[in-house]
Subunit: 415 residues, 2 copies
């Protein structure tokens, strides 16, 4: 075997943060210390912006105490970014890498980040700059191809599960209709996690709408009112990416019908309509339900950025896996002298729960995302299936049981 490539390593975090993305970061940093091939480990601030602007920090000299603390802190400690690199930016990145003798690049992110890593990888080969790139997966959306699940999902799913357990207790107190938006532009995994704490048929949520299955506004209103009539309460989980049967995003329909103009909707830097930070879609659903169901208490809510950043709600399994995935990227980058992405295969469920890591080519996870498997959702019941629960339960960790009165009825008396 040829001599291993020797040089510094650079690590960056990209895309939306998660509760455990720093666990991947710290595990990778610590692992680099075990390998003489890696002479130092730098962090790039705000995705690759740091590499472009030489806004780099020396992670290798951070103390263990600091690192261990950061590993348990939510969010992206290096700062993150959503921008894909332009070809001319890649050239700058190589120049910076060359100037600092950086030969290993670790990029923590979702499929967009894998795509960015793939672009850099190909450009590096073309430029003749020897750089080993490994993608470390993370996404709360759980939509990376080839992996059973993605680090970050378990903690976000735990947050959602607990929120809906709270909504159950709220609805038991003051029943009504409650429409809640959760994150998830294309994949319903996170929205489906709303059922994981559901112990009884009349616990929240009662209806779950995911991007994979469009719904007409009329059917939505009908479903909600029928469910409310049945249970005296109706909590709805709707993905931000939920679509009407005409294929439009709910938020677009809502803005057009409520505001008279959808141009008003804020857009993100990719030109996508901003789904998470806007509530007009929910207000629209609320108005429609109020119109149709005179006098019923109707509320809406948005699940917020704490799906991905809560300081205390985290899945321990998720945190542990985020760390081993980060560590494995460093091991593989040196062992194989090549590029790739770390992927997760599940080896068992429940008491037999386990995972195995494997390497998949960067380009295999770069393009496209996966939807929830069909067997995880029942479109007739508008409800994730037991197969989904079996899949997801191990990932979020144990959820608390809730105390319920036995409610021994007192016999009525003549008054």
């Amino acid at each position: 075997m040829a001599d291993k490539l020797k040089g510094k390593a650079l690590i960056a975090q990209s895309g939306g943060p998660t509760g455990v993305i720093n666990a991947s970061l710290v595990a990778a940093v610590k692992e680099t210390r075990q390998h003489p091939e890696i002479t130092a480990i730098y962090g790039s601030r705000y995705g690759l912006q740091g590499a472009l602007k030489q806004d780099l920090i020396n992670l290798g000299i951070e103390g263990d105490r600091t690192l261990d603390f950061v590993a348990k802190t939510s969010g992206s400690a290096l700062g993150s970014a959503r921008k894909k690199p332009e070809p001319e930016e890649c050239v700058t990145v190589f120049r910076v890498c060359k100037a600092h003798d950086i030969r290993y690049l670790f990029y923590i992110g979702g499929n967009d980040s894998a795509e960015a890593a793939d672009i850099i990888n190909k450009d590096a080969k073309q430029a003749g700059y020897e750089l080993h790139i490994f993608h470390i997966p993370k996404t709360i959306d759980n939509d990376l191809k080839f992996s059973d699940h993605t680090p970050g999902y378990g903690s976000a799913a735990r947050y959602i599960a607990l929120e809906f357990m709270g909504f159950t207790n709220d609805q038991r107190s003051l029943p009504g209709i409650h429409i809640v938006k959760t994150m998830g532009r294309k994949n319903g995994s996170l929205t489906s996690a709303s059922v994981l704490g559901k112990r009884a048929e009349n616990d929240a949520p009662h209806l779950v709408y995911i991007p994979e299955y469009p719904v007409s506004i009329d059917d939505f209103v009908k479903d909600v009112l029928i469910t409310y009539k049945k249970y005296g309460t109706c909590v709805v989980a709707v993905s931000e990416g939920a679509k009407t049967t005409e294929g439009e995003e709910l938020v677009t329909v809502a803005a057009r019908e409520l505001y008279g103009k959808s141009e008003l909707l804020p857009k993100d830097s990719h030109g996508n309509i901003q789904l998470s930070g806007f509530g007009v879609d929910l207000d629209y659903l609320l108005c429609k339900v109020i119109e149709a169901g005179e006098g019923i208490r109707v509320r809406t809510d948005r699940e917020t950025y704490n799906q991905r950043c809560h300081p205390t709600i985290v899945s321990e399994v998720d945190r542990k896996e985020a760390a081993i995935v980060g560590r494995q990227a460093v091991i593989e980058a040196i062992r194989w002298d090549s590029d790739g992405s770390i992927a997760i295969k599940r080896t068992g469920y429940g008491p037999d729960y386990g995972i195995k890591l494997f390497v998949t080519p960067l380009e295999s996870v770069a393009k496209g995302t996966k939807s929830m498997p069909e067997e995880f959702y029942d479109p007739a019941k508008k409800m994730p299936t037991d197969a989904f629960r079996t899949y997801a339960q191990d990932l979020v960790g144990e959820l608390p049981e809730q105390g319920r009165l036995k409610r021994y009825a007192v016999e009525k008396k003549a008054i």
Copy 2:
């Protein structure tokens, strides 16, 4: 001293639920078992609706294990209601009480509930029905007169504090402008709790708007953009009851300007505009900020019903106090042969933290609510003061520290 009044007791929960209202319920139920004057303890389902419709349950025969579990479960285990009793309904309540030999009534709730208790109390006296009524305070709004603080507030404040700690981590990852609505129609205590986990000047929140201090939309936009320019991030906490300088609620202005009609806004059963379940006000602020600050990432969020119902986020101090307040109501009802509300006086702060309970007349807490003390908020900085932090910190319990990299900068090289 005359013989103590002997008979059954009835207990009800009223108004919005809290994380610890069941701790009050269970402590009161258990305490009744210590007093031979109380021959049984019934629960009224959904506030006084249960007493009206004889939808009563026998709480005295619930097992200790169930009760202890319920005490740790959020929400109102009996169900709740927001309706004040009409005079003719009071008559029905006395008839039901008489038929069941109920002589003690414990009513857990906020000032509306104290008012309801006061109405029943006066009507009972007029009707010559001997009934001892005690109000057990709870409200996440922390707005009951005469009490230093109210059971339910500490847990809700803890939830808010943790959410904003998460927003800090989110903003450190992907900076931008983030406008977050929290509960609080008239009192800024809950919105102010957003600062309790703030450790650094550039931690969230950067601006806090409370109902006690109106703001013009123009000034709001100006404040936000100046703050964003200064820190490169701006997280805003806005009370749902925030008002414009013209004295209008933000949600009304927003609905008029965005929808062209404010009639569309949902109203609650008191005819008040529904503030919590609607997001048009935030969307309006968001649009205004987007218009003024081209290109900045702007998002909005609403803090949701889990401020009052989260299954795991609770302040242990709050839970403990909710229990002792519930227990004390039973003790006082028997000791004094009279009616009243339990109130909390604080005896110390920090390491000397302590409270003393006292009885205040029902009517003293029934009418009106209190605002935040002036010294708790700095209108120039749009920020709760250190005095507020000192006040509130004991009530929410310890908040986690967050790990931060030391960020040793790497020297730039020529490329």
